[in-house]
């Protein structure tokens, strides 16, 4: 092949991959290529048509396609090369060779200096929660329904029950109503809603859609098409309570039961995956257990906001470019970050002290009232008005703080404690 050597190869042209492309070009990488399996760029934001994205970055509420339009334009202007309709089907563990497939180009083996994983995340399907009953037509993940409606012009059904109250569940409830369907209710197994209160107001309360907490779907009915579901209250151990069952007639069940980082390729490449985040273990440079492989955005941890994904993507792209240009030492420090009180998950898992960093984390359960978020030994402390699992909290650590502690810094412990 007469192709130029690729400095940074990015897998996925969603918000993380596009930002990584821009970041890599800004850092001075010459040949930056983004591989995308879809025919169009933008990833999942293509189907997120409700305005509400980019408030932090642009101070205005953009729809998903509008948000991506701005960054794709920047990436084109920066000279990022995009290869749509191209699938990465293998990454070789020992050589970091990336195998791609495309109708025109055929099968290619690429040998980039650095790789950025930006495959995003995937919805948990019905198999993940094992609901008893039949498996008729009419059961979709919320994201599939969103794609049917907003990109393909189909309605998934006429009367829906929604399981899961994260922002995707709330958003799809509103979308169904606005497109002329009925929504019987949103059911949430936890004692607290997963999505933002603002979205409960705008997506549910505006249309009189009830939200049933501590309630779940316990049975699916119907042979060819879904005919209804049984819902029941659950106890504190999430076990359905006998006698609280109720039959709900519906032809559509939409599942908004969580997102999981998509890491089949990462596993194939032998990259260490974290048990709790389901994403690669990374340091604050977003470098994985393989130093030539970086990871950006929701493939690492599922963020709340696309603004976070873009920010992290820019940094990751720039670090991947530095690596490709030989500007990242091979002996960077590896100070472990540990979860202390009330912290369920966080990223990154290691701090190098090479750059300022933000540790993103989620609490195990809502703390309604003043609390304190800290990183010991004495690296960060901040008072919060509240902390909720649906809204990530941040710890900011400066490189100079890490350097000042030198070899005395063995580990960093992060806690969120009520005051």
């Amino acid at each position: 092949m007469a192709d130029k050597k690729i400095d940074v190869l990015i897998i996925g042209a969603g918000p993380a991959g596009v930002a990584a492309g821009i970041g890599a070009k800004r850092e001075g990488a010459e040949n930056v290529v983004v591989i995308e399996r879809d025919w169009d760029l933008g990833g999942i934001l293509q189907q997120c048509i409700d305005p509400g994205f980019g408030l932090r970055t642009f101070r205005e509420e953009l729809s998903g396609p509008e948000y991506m339009h701005r960054f794709i334009k920047q990436a084109h202007e920066a000279g990022v090369e995009f290869r749509p309709n191209t699938m990465v089907f293998q990454i070789d563990k020992d050589t970091n060779a990336v195998w791609t497939m495309n109708k025109e180009r055929g099968i290619e083996c690429l040998n980039p200096s650095a790789i950025v994983l930006a495959m995003g995340c995937r919805e948990r399907p019905i198999g993940a929660i094992r609901i008893p009953g039949t498996r008729p037509a009419g059961i979709y993940t919320a994201g599939t329904a969103q794609r049917f409606i907003s990109m393909e012009g189909y309605m998934p059904g006429k009367r829906a029950v929604i399981l899961g109250s994260g922002d995707i569940g709330l958003g799809v409830a509103r979308r169904m109503i606005l497109e002329g369907a009925e929504v019987e209710g949103v059911y949430e197994v936890m004692t607290w809603p997963g999505g933002l209160r603002k979205n409960i107001s705008y997506c549910l309360n505006d249309y009189g859609i009830p939200l049933h907490l501590q309630t779940t779907v316990t049975k699916i009915h119907g042979t060819d098409r879904l005919e209804g579901v049984t819902v029941a209250k659950v106890d504190d151990h999430m076990t359905p309570i006998k006698g609280t069952e109720r039959f709900v007639q519906c032809d559509t069940l939409l599942l908004a039961i969580g997102l999981v980082p998509e890491n089949e390729l990462s596993r194939m490449a032998g990259i260490e995956i974290h048990k709790v985040t389901n994403g690669p273990v990374v340091n604050d440079l977003f470098q994985t257990s393989n130093p030539a492989v970086f990871a950006a955005g929701n493939v690492v941890i599922v963020y709340d906001l696309v603004d976070n994904v873009t920010d992290q993507g820019l940094i990751t792209g720039s670090n991947a470019a530095k690596y490709a240009l030989g500007k990242i030492p091979s002996n960077v420090k590896k100070i472990p970050v540990k979860a202390g009180d009330n912290v369920r998950l966080f990223t990154p898992q290691y701090i190098t002290g090479e750059s300022d960093t933000i540790i993103y984390m989620r609490v195990t359960h809502p703390i309604e009232g003043a609390c304190k978020i800290t990183a010991e030994p004495g690296l960060f402390s901040r008072r919060l008005k509240y902390s909720r699992p649906g809204e990530m909290d941040e710890v900011r650590i400066k490189a100079e703080q890490v350097r000042a502690l030198g070899d005395n810094l063995k580990e960093i412990v992060i806690d969120i404690k009520p005051l």
């Binding site: 048509i49 305005p51 012009g153 107001s201």
Partner: protein, 122 residues
């Protein structure tokens, strides 16, 4: 006549539960807000509640059969379903440019409907 209204403040992510007391339609008291923005939000939500609206319209000859649209600015909340019906009647031809105005002054609201993505011809 005294009336109480309860709703969630959408000024930020905290989501305070606002309680607004009205006397013959006039706001006499706002409670439940953690900051002054809550009061501003309560007043606008009582006097002139507005929402951004998004949907899709049918496209002929495009790479996709539908194109996403939105209100350029927030529209009066009580007009949202009228706008949805108006938008549903619309059929456009590819190519579509992002930001292209598809309906001026939809339902007399002084709000425009614009395309929210580029859509190339098939």
């Amino acid at each position: 006549m005294i009336e109480d209204r309860k709703f969630i403040c959408a000024s930020c992510t905290i989501g305070c539960e606002l309680r607004v007391t009205l006397n013959s339609g006039e706001i006499v008291r706002v409670a439940g807000n953690a900051c002054p923005r809550g009061e501003t939000y309560a007043r606008s939500e009582i006097k002139d509640p507005r929402r951004l609206f998004a949907s899709t319209v049918r496209v002929t000859g495009g790479r996709l059969p539908v194109c996403p649209i939105r209100t350029k600015t927030p529209a009066p909340k009580e007009k949202i379903f009228d706008i949805a019906k108006e938008v549903a009647k619309l059929k456009i031809k590819a190519p579509v440019k992002i930001g292209q105005v598809l309906i001026h002054n939809v339902c007399g609201t002084d709000v425009d409907i614009v395309a929210s993505r580029d859509l190339a011809s098939a």
